[in-house]
């Protein structure tokens, strides 16, 4: 067999150095409380709109290109070589699953713009309204699809066999198209897990939102338990990927046997634990929006070297199949210390953005509640306050559980990159 037999996802990053982890952990705490108490004293993010997608001429062309590339990759997976020369594993696990995150975080929901299933749906002139339109189960189908995908990526036996990947992709496409025929084109926005994934990461985009980060303060699609579950599966699967690479886990699975069974159970368990923590820890506030930057930061930190090493390699495999550039090789090895620094920076940045968003939401809800207090009480209470009139520490008390929970998430991410 080939080196690819373990999938493209096997990471070779060194564990983070202890001093970096400790400093980052301390900085997390300090930054969180500084932001919450001093830096961000007024709600500034609410009430901004998304910029419309420019109706450029290149967008339909790009859609067609992505559709043709997807069709080629699936066809090649089904009928092409069944060894490591087949680029479909790179395309699915690196380009789509990892690559969409930085692209969306920069440019907005890219996968919604170029989704080949959507293009196919329009080209086939399927009924846009659907045969039985309705909201159905909200975003829960996407949660289940995402869980199925991460199970396939991390646990499933034979997951790097191009034939298996091709069959799964074909099945996924047919199921999605069938549901879209039933529910209408809007199905893709809530039922296609990759589109929802790209949509959530795209909320960070500085290009698509007038004020950076205001996308996270706007209403999320299908906000509520379903979306929290989606973020939980996203974050939890990355956590599981970190943890399952450790020798301790390998030793446990070897002693216990039934590796796939235990891995499946552990994956689902981690996702459920994250979901329960997300829903129960934060009190009355909706945490999902503030967890998105943390999930994006951790995903990028975890897969950074994979993206650098494997994404161009997949492209080379593709061109090599067409007989182009057969002597070009991509042997870039990232310097471990640079990767470690970038990982810590990404995790901290995600955490800071998450705290800002959570704090902004708390301030905004406090500002809405405030007019309910009578004017006389406000005047009496105005004396010992800051001149600005916003009782900063009062909102801090409300959001304290949330901030502590986010510190916990960030510490967990750092710890996992340390013990990996």
């Amino acid at each position: 067999m080939s080196p690819l037999a373990h999938g493209v996802g096997s990471s070779s990053d060194l564990p983070l150095p202890l001093d970096l982890v400790l400093q980052a952990g301390a900085a997390t705490v300090v930054l969180s409380f500084l932001i919450a108490a001093l830096w961000w004293t007024r709600p500034r993010l609410a009430g901004f709109a998304e910029r419309p997608v420019p109706a450029a001429i290149w967008l339909p062309a790009l859609r067609v290109v992505v559709l043709l590339l997807s069709l080629y990759l699936v066809g090649n997976a089904l009928f092409g070589p069944r060894d490591s020369a087949n680029p479909v594993a790179h395309a699915l696990f690196v380009w789509l699953w990892v690559g969409v995150v930085p692209l969306s975080a920069l440019l907005g929901p890219v996968w919604r713009a170029v989704n080949p299933l959507r293009t196919l749906f329009r080209l086939l002139r399927l009924p846009p309204a659907g045969l039985r339109p309705g909201a159905g189960l909200g975003v829960w189908p996407a949660v289940l699809w995402l869980l199925a995908f991460v199970w396939f990526e991390l646990v499933a036996p034979g997951r790097t066999d191009p034939l298996v990947i091709g069959c799964c992709l074909l099945g996924y496409g047919l199921a999605q198209l069938g549901m879209a025929v039933l529910r209408g084109e809007q199905w893709f926005a809530r039922g296609d897990c990759f589109e929802l994934y790209s949509e959530l990461a795209g909320r960070l985009s500085p290009l698509r939102w007038q004020v950076p980060l205001s996308g996270l303060a706007a209403r999320l699609p299908g906000a509520g338990a379903g979306l929290a579950a989606f973020v939980a599966v996203w974050w939890g699967s990355t956590v599981f990927d970190s943890a399952s690479g450790s020798p301790a886990w390998a030793g446990f699975v070897q002693r216990a046997g039934h590796a796939d069974l235990y891995a499946t159970g552990a994956l689902v368990l981690v996702c459920i634990v994250v979901l329960v923590a997300v829903r129960k820890t934060a009190g009355g506030l909706d945490v999902t929006a503030s967890l998105i930057p943390i999930a994006v930061g951790y995903t990028l930190a975890h897969y950074l070297s994979l993206l650098i090493v494997a994404a161009p390699r997949g492209f080379l495999l593709l061109t090599r199949q067409w007989g182009l550039a057969s002597d070009v090789a991509w042997n870039v090895v990232p310097i471990p210390s640079v990767i470690a620094g970038a990982q810590v920076a990404l995790i901290l940045l995600g955490h800071v953005i998450g705290v800002i968003v959570a704090h902004d939401a708390a301030l905004a809800s406090a500002a809405v509640d405030a007019p309910g207090v009578s004017g006389a009480v406000r005047v009496a209470a105005a004396g010992p306050r800051l001149a600005r009139g916003v009782p900063v520490l009062a909102t801090l008390a409300d959001e304290l559980p949330l901030v502590l929970f986010m510190i916990g998430c960030t510490w967990a991410g750092l710890f996992l990159l340390f013990v990996r």
Partner: protein, 265 residues
């Protein structure tokens, strides 16, 4: 009074530095973060650093409140005579803070928000210019607010120590271990690694001698270096190579049995 409170808070924060430093020292010396004492030390570190941050904020708030109050009286005195006037003054400010998205956009747009997204914004901190901030106290408060950020930056500075080295490898079956060499043994028995999968620290550039024995034919793969060998039962194999690339690499018996991990650095 507020100065006294602020001083007490600052002194308390300074005292809390002691347990924080002890925690950091202990964690630096600890070999594993998973032991009870290390977890306790990190808990201490968490609690003390959070308290330091909170105390500092409270101190800064106390001081800035004093300044704000000192700045207010001239404007406040006539208002005291006519409470209705205070009411009228207070309301528009509330309405502005409350629920007027157009206004929120007006303060957010001019400055600041863009600078908050990258971490570089920490050093380039600038309070928004367009908000309803009192002009006379603004400058002093602004410079006062920089203090916690400077302290936060200081905590990040001392970062040049090395993580403790891991344990040395066991003596090898394939030849004895010479200086500059690292030897490790692994055995595949009933599809399990023996000893249990573990991590071997390898200095960058040293020679690695891997002694592998199996009880059924297996393909042994050293990731990263992409070395692959077929090993047969009864014929232990010695894989020798120079660890020229830093990283964490699995040594596996295909398809999926981890034997050990090489941590090259």
């Amino acid at each position: 009074m507020t100065v006294l409170v602020a001083l007490v808070l600052l002194v308390a924060a300074a005292f809390l530095l002691v347990p924080a430093m002890v925690g950091v020292k202990f964690l630096m010396a600890a070999t594993s973060l998973l032991s009870f004492s290390s977890l306790f030390a990190s808990f201490m570190l968490l609690v003390s650093s959070a308290s330091i941050a909170t105390f500092l904020q409270l101190a800064v708030l106390a001081l800035s409140r004093r300044r704000a109050r000192a700045a207010v009286p001239p404007a406040d005195l006539p208002a005291l005579a006519a409470p209705a006037g205070v009411h009228a003054v207070a309301l528009p400010a509330d309405a502005r803070a409350a629920d007027a998205p157009a206004d929120v956009r007006a303060f957010a747009a001019p400055a600041g928000v863009r600078g908050f997204a990258p971490p570089a914004g920490v050093s380039a901190f600038a309070p928004p210019a367009g908000g309803p901030q009192p002009a006379p106290a603004g400058l002093g408060k602004r410079s006062l607010r920089l203090v916690p950020f400077l302290l936060a930056a200081l905590t990040l500075l001392p970062g040049c120590t090395q993580a403790p080295a891991a344990q040395a490898a066991a003596p090898a079956a394939c030849g004895s271990e010479a200086p500059g060499q690292v030897a490790a043994n692994a055995e595949l028995r009933d599809g399990k690694a023996s000893p249990a999968p573990h991590r071997v620290a390898v200095p960058l550039g040293s020679q690695v001698r891997l002694g592998i024995s199996v009880d059924s034919a297996a393909q042994i793969h050293v990731h990263g270096y992409d070395l692959e060998y077929q090993v047969r039962p009864g014929q232990p194999m010695c894989i020798v190579f120079v660890a020229s690339r830093a990283g964490l690499f699995d040594v596996e018996a295909h398809p999926d049995t981890l034997l050990l991990q090489l941590e090259v650095k």
